[in-house]
């Protein structure tokens, strides 16, 4: 039984790593622009499908690199045309807008690529378990964890050492002052949104390799991302990281003993955190205003 538990904790961390990738993109967008991006799942799906379309020409690796950038470009266009109009207003506006956008993206995918799932293949070299004992750690899932770690490292470098990154962090705390200091806030928000959608697109490609690529797959992956942000603390990227891993492990372990609750446990965790420490584990007070 202990071995089963250990396996599932490890497995939970792998699942959690994936949630982290989704949630960090979402958190970035939420922190700076106060936009609750319900369409994040939709962009995930678009990223996956673009990779599927590019795979015959560029191969898996080419599609993996190209697709997030293309998805980010689409995200940028959406931001300029739609999302920028609701900045500064009550988060309800952005919620309604992105909620509708999510449906448009899902149905758009259905119209372009068809309602049936698409077989997205990953290189055979990755689709093998590492060992007979640890059969649930396949090369692909390990690669996924590595990708998440690399992305987080890159994001950290971006936010800590580049000018744009520092401005994003400053804008998260006080956008008005940043604007008053002469920074082009519009461009900053666009860049931030594009980075968030880049991560969503990347999540989509990685998800497509492991799950069935289908128009509705974004919805199921979106809720854990929100929970990760709330549990970890709105406004804190470290919090999102911890939150994602935490709910991944919680979900994985619960699946062993009480499978019906493996999804509900995430919400229970969220409820507990909100009752005990409403700001989240690493959050600061008053972030979502």
């Amino acid at each position: 039984m202990t071995q089963l538990l250990l396996f599932n904790i490890t497995n939970g961390l792998i699942i959690g790593a994936f949630y982290v990738l989704m949630a960090i993109g979402l958190s970035l967008i939420l922190n700076l622009s106060n936009v609750i991006n319900f369409a994040h799942g939709g962009f995930l799906v678009v990223g996956g499908y673009i990779a599927y379309t590019l795979e015959p020409y560029l191969g898996f690796w080419g599609a993996l690199i190209a697709s997030p950038f293309l998805t980010a470009i689409i995200g940028l266009a959406v931001e300029k045309v739609l999302i920028s109009r609701v900045y500064g207003r009550d988060p309800l506006y952005s919620l309604l807008l992105t909620f509708g956008l999510a449906f448009i993206l899902e149905d758009g995918t259905r119209v372009i690529w068809g309602a049936n799932g698409k077989p997205f293949t990953i290189p055979a070299a990755l689709a093998q378990p590492l060992s007979n004992e640890f059969f649930f750690i396949t090369g692909y899932r390990l690669f996924m964890v590595v990708m998440v770690a690399v992305m987080i490292a890159l994001l950290f470098i971006l936010l800590r050492y580049t000018r744009a990154g520092i401005r994003i962090r400053a804008g998260t705390l006080d956008l008005e002052t940043v604007s008053a200091l002469g920074v082009n806030v519009r461009a900053l928000r666009s860049l931030n949104f594009a980075v968030g959608i880049f991560l969503a697109g990347l999540s989509g490609v990685l998800a497509g390799g492991q799950l069935g690529l289908e128009p509705t797959m974004g919805a199921g992956l979106l809720m854990p991302s929100f929970i990760a942000i709330i549990v970890g603390g709105v406004g804190s990227l470290i919090g999102t990281l911890v939150g994602g891993l935490l709910i991944g492990v919680a979900s994985g372990v619960t699946a062993v003993y009480f499978p019906a609750a493996s999804e509900a446990i995430m919400y229970v965790l969220m409820a507990v955190v909100l009752l005990v420490r409403p700001r989240g584990l690493f959050g600061e007070e008053g972030m979502l205003t």
Binding site: N8, I15, G88, R89, A115, A127, E214, E263
Partner: protein
């Protein structure tokens, strides 16, 4: 003029307007297909065209539309053309019931087809029963529809979960072994499917090493697969359908589980196999209808005609369900020379489908006692490499007749109450 960066507030009127738009979208007109004529017979179809079952629902619709074309080309029903009205239940029981009521009360349909989702099928069956409209459930599998929840006006084309289990169980037991482990989707269909398979297994003398109940929409099956591996069964039965099936098999293939444990299941669909990468297409399954049936009359023409209408894609079992449902109505109405619901419902009992509708080698008829179509099960293996045609992903080994897989009428729990 500079754009404000603004920090405004929500307007109450905006929310009210948004709500009104959302409400209006509910009562928009149905999608009407085929020429409107003053004396057309209206037929309604309710299926989940958006959401997880969109692909199979769309295939059902293709079958129904093709049938309507064929029927109208031959002069329609009692000399009148068929007009098909289509509504989206969006996988929601409330919406399905609302759309059904609208089709019956406002649009005046004489015949109803639907729903793929078993829960919605049961709910709209109550509506059609209340309104005395003949109703064929094309794709909902839960046993209750022709079991304890049967109605005099409701017939069903697709298999019951008991039929599916019975068709494959013996083969799996004899070929693979007696210790079975289940991965079961946690809803009505999954439960009844698993219980039926377990009953068969116990009858043969096997044991269940475990039953993992997975919530619908589970994307990551790794925890359940870890448990299944630890239990060391002979056979791992994968019962989830649609996207869940695709996810599960993909992960099984990536974990290399099919190299240690035999992977099998009960119901499988071409839509799911086509959504999987080749290495995930493993195991023994049953199909409810398959397009490659050399030598069986009518099949080749059906496949060719459907391919013309889908841009080259073959018909699936779902296409056949839709086609059969619509054709059954036309045939029985033309034979009974009436559109009265009660008369037609009685006439469909023991009605045998002709060769160009049943499209299978065995006798295919609606049983009078429970209104279940005695349709065959196509048992075989999934193919990693397509056999010639890129859509030939399943090798049929045996075709078991419906009345061999189905429990007798007395055991289904169905008691039909006809109106006075």
């Amino acid at each position: 003029m500079t754009k404000r960066l603004d920090f405004g507030a929500v307007d109450r009127r905006t929310i009210v307007k948004a709500g009104a738009v959302a409400g209006l979208s509910q009562i928009a007109a149905p999608f009407i297909w085929s020429a409107r004529a003053a004396d057309a017979i209206k037929v309604g179809m309710v299926d989940p065209f958006t959401g997880v079952y969109a692909a199979v629902a769309q295939n059902e619709l293709i079958g129904v539309k093709y049938a309507v074309e064929q029927i109208n080309a031959k002069g329609g029903v009692l000399g009148r053309p068929i007009e098909l009205l289509v509504e989206d239940s969006a996988n929601d029981v409330g919406i399905g019931v609302q759309k059904t009521r609208k089709l019956i009360e406002r649009d005046g349909i004489q015949f109803l087809i639907g729903d793929v989702n078993s829960a919605i099928a049961l709910a709209i069956a109550q509506v059609s029963n209340e309104k005395k409209v003949l109703h064929i459930v094309s794709g909902g599998h839960t046993d209750g529809i022709t079991g304890k929840d049967c109605h005099w006006n409701v017939y069903r084309v697709c298999n019951t979960t008991k039929m599916e289990a019975n068709s494959v169980a013996e083969l799996l037991f004899n070929k693979y072994g007696k210790k079975w482990h289940f991965i079961t989707p946690d809803y009505a269909f999954g439960h009844t499917l698993q219980e039926a398979a377990q009953a068969d297994l116990t009858k043969f003398g096997g044991t269940v090493t475990g039953n993992e109940l997975t919530p619908l929409g589970t994307t990551d099956f790794s925890a359940y697969l870890i448990k299944a591996r630890a239990a060391n069964p002979d056979v791992l039965l994968v019962l989830p359908q649609g996207l869940d099936m695709v996810n599960c098999l993909k992960q099984i293939a990536q974990f290399g589980i099919e190299k240690q444990i035999h992977v099998a299941g009960l119901q499988q669909e071409l839509e799911s196999l086509e959504a999987m990468p080749p290495e995930a297409r493993v195991g023994i399954w049953m199909f409810e209808w398959y397009w490659k049936q050399p030598g069986v009359p009518g099949v080749e023409k059906f496949v060719a005609d459907i391919r013309k209408r889908t841009g080259g894609k073959v018909p699936t079992a779902r296409t056949w369900f839709g086609y059969t449902s619509m054709m059954s109505y036309a045939l029985v109405a033309n034979q009974a020379k009436t559109l009265d619901g009660v008369t037609l419902a009685k006439a469909l009992g023991n009605f045998e489908l002709p060769a160009d509708v049943k499209l299978q080698p065995n006798k295919c008829y609606y049983r009078a006692g429970d209104h279940q179509l005695m349709t065959s099960s196509f048992v075989g293996e999934a193919l990693t490499k397509p056999a010639g045609d890129p859509e030939d992903l399943f090798k049929v080994d045996t075709i078991v007749a419906g009345d061999k897989t189905s429990p007798p009428e007395s055991e289904t729990g169905c008691t039909l109450q006809w109106p006075a």
